[in-house]
């Protein structure tokens, strides 16, 4: 659970770096070439299987743990949850549900279309690329997409702010010396990921 989580945390940084190419470069082909490279590289293709495995592992473990946790308290308190603990840690399964729903939309919009060839194409230097850059820009000119996208990443942020440091606790790594470092990293990482991903639709929409 924690290892798969850390793996997904690292993957998000790679994904963010590539996504940011859309707004960092005026030439949409920079992003298209990056997406093309990611889709046609044997190392990345193997990594893709590992990634889906990691995601499935994270989800399956989460479901098993959650069911066990519900069973562990068959009768609930009539007045509960008044302990002053970190707010988002109490709603991990709920934020996970929102993220999963977003992933379904995300996969049907981009991943499956890239795999099964319904995406728009563009030819550059004799090579055919999927024109994802234009697609992304077209989508983010529409307000509902911008709102759904930003909302999903806020929920991802709520998930990460607890998940990041919780993974280190589960792995037994956090001790008195590392705890402040891990807590700080957890906040910095979450802010970077959420700000980075949400900047893309905002920049496209308002430019």
């Amino acid at each position: 659970m924690s290892l798969a989580g850390i793996f997904l945390i690292l993957f998000l940084l790679v994904h963010l770096t590539i996504n940011l190419l859309v707004i960092l470069f005026d030439d949409p082909m920079v992003y298209n070439r990056a997406a093309h490279f990611m889709g046609n590289n044997i190392v990345i293709k193997i990594f893709e299987i590992v990634l889906i495995g990691g995601l499935l592992l994270h989800v399956i473990y989460a479901l098993i743990l959650q069911v066990q946790n519900w069973i562990a308290r068959p009768r609930r308190y009539s007045k509960a949850n008044f302990s002053s603990t970190s707010f988002f840690s109490k709603f991990m399964i709920h934020t996970a549900g929102v993220i999963l729903a977003f992933l379904v939309i995300h996969f049907s919009d981009f991943y499956f279309r890239a795999k099964f060839g319904h995406a728009a194409e563009i030819v550059s230097d004799g090579v055919v690329y999927h024109d994802f850059a234009t697609e992304v820009i077209d989508k983010f000119k529409m307000l509902p997409f911008v709102i759904i996208y930003i909302a999903a990443f806020l929920f991802l942020g709520f998930h990460l702010i607890h998940g990041f440091q919780s993974a280190f606790k589960t792995l037994g790594i956090e001790n008195n010396r590392y705890a402040p470092v891990i807590q700080t990293l957890s906040v910095i990482y979450t802010v970077v990921v959420v700000a980075g991903f949400t900047a893309i639709p905002l920049v496209i929409y308002f430019m």
Binding site: N69, Y77, F82, Q165, K169, G172, I173
Partner: protein, 245 residues
């Protein structure tokens, strides 16, 4: 002060149980929560009604018997206190106080507010002790122990086994209780001898007894009357991984 009490009444472990409202008048703000319940019980007995059953023993805050969930928090609204050390001045005149037993599959209700916490004893039996010969008291002084380790072990040993961690945890996990015992003994040279077996056995028993899993929410640390830290859970995880590898 006048109070309305909403107390969980349950005849035995098989009965369904329900909340019953009671009204108390002119309670001294300086009496303890348990003394307030004593007053209620005296009134109930004088009216020929069944008194409310609750666990209590030392009434000095060190035995861990008084396990009551008050207004959504184990041991009530005060920090670092057991119910016997909680005073009515922490409440206001006219308050409604909701009083429930610990709720967890591993802590079945025996009657009213009294729960069966023998699952904690079962956990300790799985290795929460040292069975190698550690010599006599003077021998202990010949073994050098790092001061930080000694302090950490001593803090972990402060656990009174009240079960507030399980009661507070949204998953009814016993990780703080087991973590305190594991890291208390793993921090000291005498405890290291059996550290691997201890952590494996206690974790396996914890799962077998039906406690939930830790999601590092930290409610246990906030509600522990003895201030046992989450660092003990991290230590437990470290010891468990080390013993598995």
């Amino acid at each position: 002060m006048d109070l309305k009490l909403k107390i969980w009444r349950q005849k035995d472990s098989r009965s369904r149980g329900r909340f019953v409202n009671y009204f108390l008048r002119e309670i001294d703000p300086d009496c303890s929560f348990l003394e307030m319940l004593d007053i209620l019980n005296e009134q109930l007995i004088s009216r020929n009604e069944e008194p409310v059953v609750f666990d209590h023993e030392c009434r000095e805050g060190i035995c861990g018997s008084c396990s009551i969930y008050i207004n959504g928090r184990p041991h009530g609204p005060d920090e670092l206190t057991t119910v016997c050390q909680l005073h009515m001045r922490k409440f206001n005149h006219g308050d409604t106080i909701v009083i429930e037993p610990w709720r967890a599959r591993s802590f079945p209700v025996i009657r009213d507010l009294m729960v069966d916490r023998s699952s904690f004893d079962t956990l300790i039996r799985e290795g929460g002790y040292i069975s190698v010969n550690t010599g006599t008291a003077p021998d202990a002084n010949t073994i050098p122990v790092n001061r930080d380790d000694a302090v950490f072990a001593m803090d972990a040993a402060a656990c009174i086994g009240c079960g507030a961690c399980v009661a507070a945890c949204k998953n009814a996990s016993a990780m703080l209780f087991v973590g305190a015992k594991i890291s208390h003994l793993a921090s000291l040279p005498q405890g290291r001898v059996e550290a691997r077996k201890r952590v494996q056995d206690m974790v396996a028993m914890m799962d077998a007894l039906g406690f939930g899993n830790c999601t590092n929410t930290g409610a246990c640390e906030v509600e522990c009357p003895k201030g046992i830290k989450m660092a003990n859970i991290v230590r437990l995880n470290r010891e468990y991984l080390k013993s598995t590898l």
